[in-house]
């Protein structure tokens, strides 16, 4: 596992749509299991990508063991809701009343983002869950954050519920959920981005929002699909016209990557790079390459401890 994430019980992988969160999450999960840690990887109510990225079989709404130390789940709101009520209200008659009574279901719609709360709650629950022997059921939980809507709204839901509902079981759950999220000893946040102007702007904003609004602690920023290229200027001029535009374009992309990485370094997080890989299909072996790049890319000394 990456040094800065080695102690985390919950690793949350965030970033805007299309930056490669699922790929990074899969790479981290494989590395974690390989290291000997019981690992759970979670998707949140999405079309499954992990089956293709991990190539260890289907990922479903119930937790399934994919390999010796790796489990996976695609968390669905209705199932998470049912599990939540079973657990919180602790007896079936009450739980059934809530999920089956359509009038009650109607009321529950007014509790803001209740679906989001129970899905996030399931992740956090598994991140602190103990087995019968007093050991953690999962030594590491990796959450592949969804990209729909505002990227960070999911993490703000516990506070919204606390503010709206105030007292009672929901507020109690929301409180410990928020507390675990902001506890740097429990939760580490990884920001994934592309090394281009707008994605970097958005990552800087996201990092600020995580700190200031959510009181969470990003540890690592991963620049995905980095271009590297060295081509001396003097040779550029001698290239035939038909190929020159391609070299110029690649050079420009590499320059943009370098500038982007430099801007990300100013965030004070550990910066890691994954090179641009054109692989089709993008499956397990590509994910392994991503891990090699992440792991081999030793970060320079950063300003943080």
């Amino acid at each position: 596992m990456l040094d800065e994430l080695a102690k985390a019980r919950l690793i949350v992988v965030t970033g805007k749509g299309g930056v490669g969160k699922s790929t990074i999450s899969a790479a981290l999960a494989l590395a974690s299991a390989r290291e000997g840690k019981r690992t759970l990887i979670c998707e949140i109510n999405t079309d499954d990508r992990l089956e293709r990225l991990l190539s260890l079989g289907p990922v479903a709404a119930d937790i399934r063991q994919l390999s010796d130390l790796l489990w996976a789940v695609n968390i669905r709101p209705d199932i998470a809701m049912r599990e939540y009520f079973d657990m919180v209200l602790k007896f079936d008659r009450l739980s059934r009343a809530l999920t089956e009574n359509r009038l009650l279901k109607y009321f529950l719609r007014f509790i803001p983002s209740l679906q989001d709360l129970v899905m996030l709650g399931k992740v956090l629950f598994h991140a602190r869950e103990m087995d019968g022997t007093g050991a953690p059921r999962f030594e590491r939980v990796i959450m592949d954050t969804p990209s729909t809507g505002h990227a960070l709204s999911l993490f703000g839901v516990p506070q919204v519920v606390i503010d709206t509902v105030g007292a009672g079981a929901l507020a109690n759950q929301a409180t410990w959920m928020r507390d675990d999220l902001v506890d740097a000893s429990k939760t580490s946040v990884v920001l994934v981005t592309l090394p281009e102007e707008t994605p970097v702007n958005e990552s800087i904003e996201m990092c600020a929002a995580l700190h200031d609004k959510l009181k969470m602690h990003p540890t690592t920023v991963i620049a995905n699909r980095v271009h590297e290229f060295r081509f001396a200027k003097r040779h550029l001029a001698t290239l035939p016209a038909s190929v020159r535009p391609f070299i110029e374009a690649k050079k420009a992309m590499a320059a943009q990557s370098t500038e982007s990485v430099a801007r990300l370094a100013a965030l004070g997080l550990v910066v890691r790079k994954v090179p641009h890989l054109t692989r089709t299909p993008f499956g397990r072996s590509a994910v392994e390459e991503v891990w090699q790049a992440l792991n081999g890319d030793k970060p320079p000394q950063t300003r943080r401890d």
Partner: protein, 369 residues
């Protein structure tokens, strides 16, 4: 006259698609194409990237309409033949406006002050989408000759967008609310109301979840809102009518990410199944093939430089092949919907010049330029 121009010109284009595919850029470039061709346009966005927002001049101004100044056009070497405007949707502000329009003054304050209203207007699933459609309807009624282009919140499923009005309506006009709030109830006897829910157990469960006081407030809020059900219902019907109008057309925007291909195709078939009008499917960011001349030339180069050039060209060729395969997949599975490809740009959209790089491909294909 192309096939696109032969059918009726759209009065509204609604761009739907997953996050990160360039939906906002596509929406803005359609508005630009329209203005360049001589028809006034307005692009309504929800959460634009800062650089695009700056390029359009909307920046931090929520809800005010901003006309793109002539200087922005001339700086990009473009000549608009009609005005183009941009607007950033203010979800909370539009809810407030809606409540003011629909709710009698006596009841308004209670709603505005309710803790549930604060979260409902922003956190409720479908809220953004509903408000976007409200705003669109308002704008279309006010300016019939202008092309409205709506950028929608990113989602995996077009269903989120299309079902939003109905979901919001269910909220206010639900059988459950009507059953609960028969005339006898207004005395506010909490315990009695809860018993009506079916069992004392259920009432206890609710109170355990959220505390009795909160439940009481919620009941009051629901009672207030459900009395407005009829008024919201009228508006929701108008929105439905807007969707059904053949001049309201959907544009599904997809990227070149293989993963999200199914999401985009899912949106196409969902829209089709629900008899919505599809203007086309845009595949954004397609890498063009490397010309044969460049490949031959690279083959002839010597030394380390030759190796570097060949490696670079190979990378581009591989990407172009991947993208071509994806475009073919879209074409095969798009149920006859026009597939329009937009080339990969070297930079992000930061001014009208770069926006025009998209507009010149999209305008003709969508009958807006």
């Amino acid at each position: 006259m192309t096939g696109a121009q032969a059918s009726s010109p759209p009065s509204a284009l609604i761009a739907v698609g997953s996050g990160g595919v360039g939906k906002t850029s596509v929406a803005a470039s359609l508005a630009l194409a329209s203005a360049l061709a001589g028809r006034s346009s307005l692009v309504l966005t929800i959460d634009p990237a800062r650089r695009l927002a700056d390029a359009l001049g909307i920046g931090a101004l929520a809800q005010s309409e901003v006309r793109i100044p002539d200087e922005a056009f001339t700086a990009a070497g473009l000549t608009p033949r009609a005005p183009m405007s941009a607007m950033m949707l203010d979800v909370r502000g539009t809810w407030d406006e809606l409540v003011r329009r629909v709710v009698p003054p006596a009841v308004r304050e209670r709603i505005f002050n309710s803790r549930f209203y604060l979260s409902l207007s922003t956190a409720l699933a479908g809220s953004q989408e509903y408000i976007a459609m409200e705003k669109l309807g308002e704008l279309m009624a006010a300016r019939p000759g202008t092309l409205m282009v709506l950028d929608t919140p990113p989602s995996m499923h077009a269903v989120d967008f299309l079902e939003a009005p109905q979901r919001i309506l269910d909220f206010f006009d639900h059988d459950a609310a009507r059953a609960l709030f028969a005339p006898a109830r207004l005395a506010g006897r909490f315990g009695q109301k809860v018993v009506e829910l079916g069992s004392a157990v259920a009432g206890k469960a609710l109170s355990r979840l959220a505390g009795a006081e909160v439940i009481r407030e919620l009941m009051d809020f629901i009672a207030t809102m459900s009395s407005l059900g009829a008024a919201f219902s009228v508006r929701a019907r108008a929105t439905h009518a807007m969707f059904a109008d053949p001049n309201t057309k959907f544009v599904v925007v997809a990227g070149t990410d293989e993963d999200r291909c199914d999401e985009a195709l899912g949106m196409v078939s969902y829209l089709r199944d629900h008899h919505m009008h599809l203007a086309g499917l845009v595949v954004n960011g397609v890498q063009a093939a490397v010309p044969a001349l460049a490949v031959e030339c690279a083959a002839s180069l010597r030394g380390e430089i030759g190796d570097q050039v060949r490696a670079t060209i190979r990378e581009v060729q591989t990407q172009a092949a991947i993208d071509a395969h994806l475009v073919a997949r879209f074409a095969e599975n798009a149920l006859g919907v026009r597939v329009v490809t937009v080339p990969r740009l070297d930079t992000d959209i930061h001014d009208l010049g770069t926006l025009y790089q998209l507009a010149r491909h999209l305008g003709p294909a969508f009958g807006v330029g």
